[in-house]
């Protein structure tokens, strides 16, 4: 059914699904492919039917079953004749990851790990329906929507240097608040500065392995160093913005006479009011997420300073892994402006791209791959293969292989916590039940996923970090 193109590239041929405009390509090893469900491959094929899609409908090695696009899906659309689809972004708009590097060593931090995690758990509200410590005004909410992390820094959360180390400088151009509903605003206001739940986390980590000394030095990372990783997104504001626009775009599918294999792929032709309104609101949600991660970083720094005088926590980088963006890519030898959708995929621009901060431009951007709870996370460096093969995109995580229902039948939350404690990892969570569905075993091993992108030169392995303590929803 799939055609092997290369050791790590498999093609979903034309004809797998009626109406495919381009073939699909899954970047994966044979071993990992065995765990990919047929439904995921069908979803890759479904995306290939969307108008204006360029080259291939792609999936990364962490691909798994989603709704609409597969998780790990990447697709780029021509400005002329293409579409934009909320199904290619997801409900958690700009769910993403940032990593802070400290000037502390794991040996010095280990004795304080319980205090740090307990304080972080209090300082950064998490869990279902969590409300933040902030009480932002309607005006401040508008600022978060339109100016993202830049607003957060001006409001006292962090330093200007943080902005340069965010994808898009923490502010996606083109954000509009005109098509954000009152409901989205009501959900967004109390939740700014909250982590959320599910697979979102705030983790204190130790760099346990360096794969590439030169790149690690460029990113300011060394063995034995303590780092902090923040994984969260745009919270209820993003969920509501996607929900609202999904309904509008479902109407647009009829209006513009499109036929889609899945209702969640609802989309609108670029340039139409429906597409522009969604893009403006989606960009605003992306900015809200960057403001959110910026605020959480500031509170994380405050907690570290309680225990370590003058502790320095510099931002390595901040990446978005659920987003649609306008980017310039080479197509058949000429430069084109494309709407690149990444649904559970990370931008992985290689050396020289102007979007990369000056400090990293000559080597490529940092690509942050969070592990599942209790498993290693990876720092990679975007490379040439990504520019050639995947519109500058890499995987975003480990990829789920066991359903939540199954996970709960197999593991109890308390057991998961005990096991992590035995391994020396301090865990705080609002709901012990939710730990079971995030048990490490329900995900693919992240090292195998990362090895695929390394072999394809999409992103090079720089460092591996392991958890010391984690705060979860």
């Amino acid at each position: 059914m799939l055609k092997k193109v290369d050791d790590y590239i498999f093609e979903v041929p034309m004809g797998h699904q009626k109406g495919m405009r381009v073939p699909g390509r899954i970047f994966i090893s044979e071993k990992l492919l065995e765990q990919v469900e047929p439904g995921t491959i069908d979803q890759v094929a479904n995306v290939a039917t969307l108008p204006g899609i360029v080259n291939y409908s792609m999936a990364m090695p962490d691909a798994h079953l989603g709704y609409g696009f597969p998780i790990g899906g990447v697709a780029a659309f021509r400005e002329d004749g293409g579409v934009i689809s909320p199904g290619g972004v997801g409900f958690d708009i700009n769910c993403g990851v940032r990593m802070l590097r400290t000037d502390l060593r794991a040996d010095d931090v280990a004795p304080m790990i319980s205090n740090l995690v307990e304080d972080l758990f209090t300082a950064v509200p998490s869990g279902v329906g969590a409300k933040g410590r902030l009480r932002v005004s309607e005006h401040e909410l508008d600022e978060a929507f339109t100016r993202g992390a830049a607003w957060a820094v001006e409001a006292g959360f962090g330093v200007p240097e943080d902005l340069e180390h965010c994808e898009e400088n923490g502010r996606l151009e083109g954000a509009e608040t005109d098509h954000i509903s009152l409901k989205a605003r009501k959900r967004g206001r109390p939740q700014l500065g909250t982590l959320g739940s599910g697979n979102h986390f705030l983790e204190i980590q130790r760099v346990d392995r360096i794969f590439d000394e030169r790149l690690a030095e460029q990113f300011g990372i060394f063995e034995g160093q303590v780092t902090v990783m923040i994984h969260c997104g745009s919270r209820g504001a993003g969920h509501q913005i996607c929900t609202d626009h999904l309904q509008v775009l479902s109407g647009a599918v009829k209006k513009y006479g499109m036929e889609l294999p899945d209702k969640q792929l609802a989309c609108a032709p670029l340039g139409t009011p429906e597409a522009e309104n969604y893009f403006g609101a989606m960009a605003a949600a992306a900015n809200y997420a960057w403001a959110n991660r910026q605020i959480i970083s500031a509170w994380t720094r405050e907690v570290f300073e309680r225990y370590f005088d003058n502790a320095e926590l510099d931002l390595v980088y901040d990446v978005a892994h659920n987003v649609a963006k306008v980017e310039e890519h080479s197509v058949d030898g000429s430069k084109e402006r494309l709407y690149v959708h990444r649904k559970g995929a990370t931008r992985a621009f290689g050396p020289g791209r102007p979007e990369i901060p000056a400090a990293y431009r000559e080597v490529g951007q940092p690509v942050l791959i969070p592990g599942s709870m209790g498993t290693p996370s990876y720092v990679l460096c975007g490379s040439e293969g990504a520019m050639r093969l995947t519109f500058g995109s890499a995987c975003h995580g480990a990829g789920r292989i066991m359903s939540r229902t199954q996970a709960k039948k197999t593991y109890a939350g308390t057991e998961v916590k005990d096991e992590l404690t035995r391994r020396g990892i301090k865990v705080m969570a609002t709901s012990p039940k939710m730990l079971a569905e995030e048990a490490p075993e329900v995900y693919k091993p992240s090292d195998e996923v990362v090895d695929v992108v390394h072999h394809l030169d999409i992103a090079r392995k720089v460092a591996r970090v392991v958890p010391m303590g984690v705060s979860k929803g």
Binding site: Y67, G198, Q264, T430
Partner: protein, 146 residues
């Protein structure tokens, strides 16, 4: 007739809710969504929230209804265990008048299983099936993003 059943889905929650009328299918779909988050037997009926929705088609109406329940859960910080729905079909489409019963979240008593982020349109459908003996059964199939 089981009011609802959960189906296997690797990353998200998928369910099929049933009813002898579209109203009952709507009510059971909301209950299935809530049950994915929390055991409804832990929810006391202390307050009620009214819901009024209009939509072009029955499918849009179901999507908006479930999304409204999620919205109320989040902004009211309330959990629900009782759903009452009345549907009317007019010239311009459908109208839903409903009441949702429950209480404000009490972190001591309400232990969440998972957080539902949103209702997706993936494989979303509501349809009528005729059973033997001419009994009508309405089925709503929904995938939730969690």
């Amino acid at each position: 007739m089981e009011p609802f059943e959960y189906l296997e889905h690797t990353a998200d929650v998928k369910f099929r809710a049933r009813g002898r009328s579209p109203e009952e299918a709507f009510e059971n779909a909301a209950l299935a969504m809530m049950t994915a988050m929390i055991d409804p037997s832990t929810v006391r009926l202390e307050e009620a929230w009214p819901v009024e929705i209009e939509a072009e088609g029955l499918e849009n109406l179901l999507y908006e209804w479930l999304s409204e329940v999620l919205y109320l859960f989040e902004v009211e910080l309330a959990v629900f265990s009782k759903f009452e729905v009345k549907l009317d079909e007019g010239e311009d489409g459908w109208r839903l008048s409903g009441r949702i019963g429950g209480e404000r979240v009490d972190p001591e008593r309400h232990l969440f299983e998972t957080e539902v982020k949103a209702v997706t349109l993936h494989q979303f459908e509501i349809r009528k099936e005729e059973r033997e003996g001419g009994e009508e059964i309405w089925t709503a199939q929904v995938v939730l993003d969690v």
